[in-house]
Symmetry: C2
Subunit: 155 residues, 2 copies
Amino acid sequence: VLGREYPDETCSISRSLEIVGERWTMLILRDALLGLSAFEEFRESLGIATNVLTARLKLLCGEGLLVRVHDGEASQRSHYLLTEKGREMGPVLFALMKWGDRHYPTQHGAPRLTLHAGCGGEVVQSLHCLACGERVTLEGLDLPLAPAFAHQPAD
Amino acid sequence: VLGREYPDETCSISRSLEIVGERWTMLILRDALLGLSAFEEFRESLGIATNVLTARLKLLCGEGLLVRVHDGEASQRSHYLLTEKGREMGPVLFALMKWGDRHYPTQHGAPRLTLHAGCGGEVVQSLHCLACGERVTLEGLDLPLAPAFAHQPAD
């Protein structure tokens, strides 16, 4: 997508960033998660040039993060809706938001709250172990190469 | 950092992306979280041009995600170590890795495992509510503007 190959191509972070590693792409996904869907809504929210927005929406549709839905035969308008793949970028954007809230707050603090629709409590993101159930910190996280990668050259 | 202002400047995602919203920057942080610290280590891992790597490391040091440590008076070498602020990008990279594992796997599957150093179990990332303790899905997440932003124009 970015028009070149990257050396550590077996890395999933690298592969993800080939698709979403561009500021506008992330911000379009943010807006879609917040409920925007019309071309004009994205354009006004982002202050983005029309041709750039068109290109990014095309990329996101082509990669299956958004799907373009026509409003009907009588209308030339269409909406861009998140697919499950697109919605699964939610944890990435949640983590970016919390990091920004913490390290680059506005003078009025964090712009948005993250609340549980069920009870109104504060929602946080964490790592935990599926086997023992413990919460895991980065220090307690091992990232070994998978067996298929540890015993043969990367493809 | 990217040399311009963005319209939705009150958004923490947007603010974060002004610092880390660039592919190489994310990949340097990934390598640092995996334990690399020397200039040559980053250069070899990333296949990045020396001048680009120098610029990105300078940015990351300037913003306080990395700190440059000289190896001693007898050496001209130095290492780049993650600060707490830099380490706190871990959840962003974890989420990007899992999204890439799921949607852009290699022919051999996910390159790295995420294991609990304590018991060897699989580590996953999730959202949960601090009040009721429930796991929260994106559908159960409310993102209202904070009071300071709901009642006055964004600055």
